[in-house]
């Protein structure tokens, strides 16, 4: 919506009346805008700014020191490792699910969609719990794992599994509407022109979904590195070994090392801001495949 270019009274009465009928009075608009902006300032802007002011509250030196401290570094490393392992798996699942759901008819499609939505209904703590039930020494597969001396929970594999559970829907949910909107015509055309299944997928499908895929990957990444509850349950909180960045923040905070906690938090907030920016930029491109609309 654009601002009215001419002043209100300069417009002919018919136009004025028409506008009056489908918009609220100016003062109402401004009241509503103010309330909305105040709400957002209170709940979103102030907290975001606070992270940074708290992080730098003890000065730049303490900020920097908190980030390069060994436990912090290993937390960062672990977080990135989990990301690097889980992201390709999530991409694979997301693309496969979107392909099956958007290009074919089959019974039980709704069930599959509900299944993909499932993690959103499950508390992260429960997500961690289920893997403890399966893989801990007291768990179902415990004796079997002990026999081969395999450690899943309280170690990296458990963290990855818990993260996968929580993050697997993101890319799928992003790609499904994109692929549905694009239809199957181009793929069918490629087939009639003699393309094999893989040629069709690599040359026609992938380029068309690249923006949607990127969008989904960004969302998934933000969620992966930020996951707290599920990882908290399975990690065992072993300092320097099984602490991801969010867990490290928790430890610092509980030890009253506020500036350090916020320093690490500020890193994650920067990542969040980048996520928001990329999301915003990619929003248009997702379905139409190019910048043009």
């Amino acid at each position: 919506m654009e601002y009215a270019k001419e002043s209100y009274s300069a417009q002919p009465a018919a136009v004025r009346n028409r506008k009056k009928d489908t918009t609220e009075p100016r003062w109402v608009q401004w009241v509503l805008i103010t309330i909305a902006v105040a709400f957002i300032a209170l709940f979103l802007i102030i907290p975001l700014v606070s992270v940074f002011t708290q992080a730098f509250s003890k000065g730049l030196d303490v900020y920097w020191a908190s980030l390069i401290e060994p436990d912090a570094l290993s937390a960062i490393k672990l977080t990135l490792l989990v990301l690097v392992v889980s992201l390709p798996i999530n991409i694979l699942f997301g693309v496969a699910a979107a392909w099956a759901i958007s290009k074919f008819y089959f019974r039980g499609k709704n069930l599959l969609l509900a299944l993909i939505d499932l993690p959103f209904a499950v508390s992260p703590v429960i997500a961690g719990l289920i893997f403890i039930l399966l893989f801990s020494s007291h768990g179902v597969l415990g004796p079997l794992l002990d026999k081969y001396d395999i450690q899943i929970v309280f170690a990296l594999p458990g963290i990855i599994l818990a993260t996968l559970f929580v993050t697997f829907p993101f890319i799928a949910k992003e790609l499904i509407p994109v692929m549905q909107a694009q239809g199957s015509d181009e793929e069918e055309a490629a087939l009639t022109l003699g393309a094999s299944g893989w040629q069709m997928f690599l040359r026609v499908t992938l380029p068309n979904i690249k923006w949607g895929l990127l969008y989904g990957v960004i969302l998934c990444t933000a969620r992966t590195i930020g996951e707290f509850g599920a990882v908290s349950v399975v990690s065992g909180h072993i300092r320097g070994l099984t602490n991801t960045m969010p867990l490290h923040i928790e430890i610092l905070y509980n030890e009253y090392q506020f500036a350090a906690a916020f320093a690490v938090a500020s890193l994650m907030s920067i990542m969040a801001i980048i996520t928001l920016i990329v999301q915003h930029v990619l929003d248009r491109k997702r379905v139409h495949g190019t910048g043009e609309n």
């Binding site: 015509d185 069918e188 055309a189 490629a190 009639t192 022109l193 380029p207 043009e292």
Partner: protein
């Protein structure tokens, strides 16, 4: 390459889209599948292409059974209603696609591909657009790219699914002329689907009229228009006057009009179909069967004149069509009384009278 379709049946769930369709398409012909939406024509085309599988029946290319082959193996050129151009590729890349994805052994060199693509782009008059993207082209241009892309690989048959359906009238007419010329130049068996009877009659060598999953009639455009085989074909192609009546002594009686209906059962209800241009108008009752009408409306439509008249015997309206010369010779005016008779007609007695 000839195409034979034998007893093709297709269901979508419980809905029977095609009912034992059999069709012979001789090599080199341009065939139109004509019918309203839901007639099954697009399903049939896609089954020929291999984009869908029939539940029963066979498809034969040059007498060879291709029913089990998928779209890739059938080497068909397919043109989609909404073009289906690869949106992220240039026009050049779109057209070149078919040759570029061939396995290494069969793939021509880059120079050969370039030459062929440019040759085809010149044929469709889009050479200057070769570096543009589909989004930058008009509908008519996109369809020409789609055509070029489909024929680059020298397919055995060209299939078009309502190719001009998404374009406006003027562009449609141009592309129609264009398709005819292309077909003459390249001489490839072509089948296209349309719901526009004007298009089918204008372009095709053979028209296949379909309705409700069945074939109503196959014939040349002239055949199906002048000698419709069923009421549906009569009504779908061009305008028609309907005269309903009862059969008596081998004649359908409607007011003072009697239509010969040899072999029709007595006392059955029937309908006689008469095209507007088969209604003869005279100022005097030169023929004993002529009836009197009062002219109510005169429309000038390009080179023809449509005359609407009210029958004095039944009070029904009749629509007649004359050429300009005929009209001027008779010098007709509204409210005048003249005489008409049908010069050509066909009587149908429907199974169940649900008209």
């Amino acid at each position: 390459m000839s195409i034979k379709v034998k007893n093709i049946t297709k269901y979508f769930g419980d809905y029977k889209a095609l009912d034992e369709i059999s069709l012979d398409i001789p090599a080199g012909k341009l065939v139109a599948l004509l019918g309203p939406s839901g007639s099954g024509k697009t399903s049939l085309l896609r089954i020929i292409a291999g984009l869908e599988q029939a539940d029963e029946g066979y498809v034969l290319f040059d007498e060879k059974d291709v029913t089990g082959h998928n779209a890739r193996d059938r080497q068909v050129g397919f043109v989609f209603q909404h073009y289906a151009l690869f949106r992220h590729m240039t026009v050049f890349d779109n057209v070149a696609f078919g040759l570029r994805i061939k396995p290494k052994k069969q793939r021509p060199s880059k120079e050969v591909i370039k030459a062929r693509v440019e040759e085809l782009l010149a044929l469709v008059k889009l050479e200057e657009f070769k570096d543009r993207y589909p989004m930058q082209l008009s509908g008519g241009q996109r369809q020409r790219v789609a055509l070029a892309r489909a024929i680059l690989t020298e397919p055995r048959v060209l299939l078009l699914d309502e190719p001009f359906g998404a374009l406006d009238a003027k562009v449609r007419k141009e592309l129609r002329k264009w398709l005819r010329k292309l077909h003459r130049d390249i001489d490839i068996t072509s089948v296209f689907v349309t719901h526009d009877q004007e298009e089918a009659l204008d372009v095709a060598d053979v028209v296949v009229v379909m309705n409700n999953g069945r074939i109503e009639q196959i014939g040349t455009p002239r055949d199906v228009y002048e000698h419709p085989a069923t009421p549906f074909v009569y009504e779908f192609l061009g305008n028609v006057n309907l005269f309903k009546g009862r059969i008596q002594d081998g004649k359908l009686v409607n007011g003072f009009l009697e239509f010969l209906a040899p072999g029709a059962e007595n006392e059955r209800e029937g309908i006689s179909y008469v095209r507007p241009h088969h209604i003869t108008i005279e100022r005097e009752a030169v023929h004993p069967e002529m009836i009197m009408v009062e002219i109510t409306h005169i429309h000038f439509i390009g080179p023809t004149v449509q005359v609407e008249a009210l029958r004095k015997d039944t009070g029904d309206f009749v629509e007649a069509e004359l050429s300009r010369e005929q009209f001027e010779r008779l010098d007709l005016k509204i409210k005048e009384f003249v005489f008409i008779r049908p010069s050509q007609f066909k009587v149908f007695v429907p199974e169940d009278f649900t008209i």
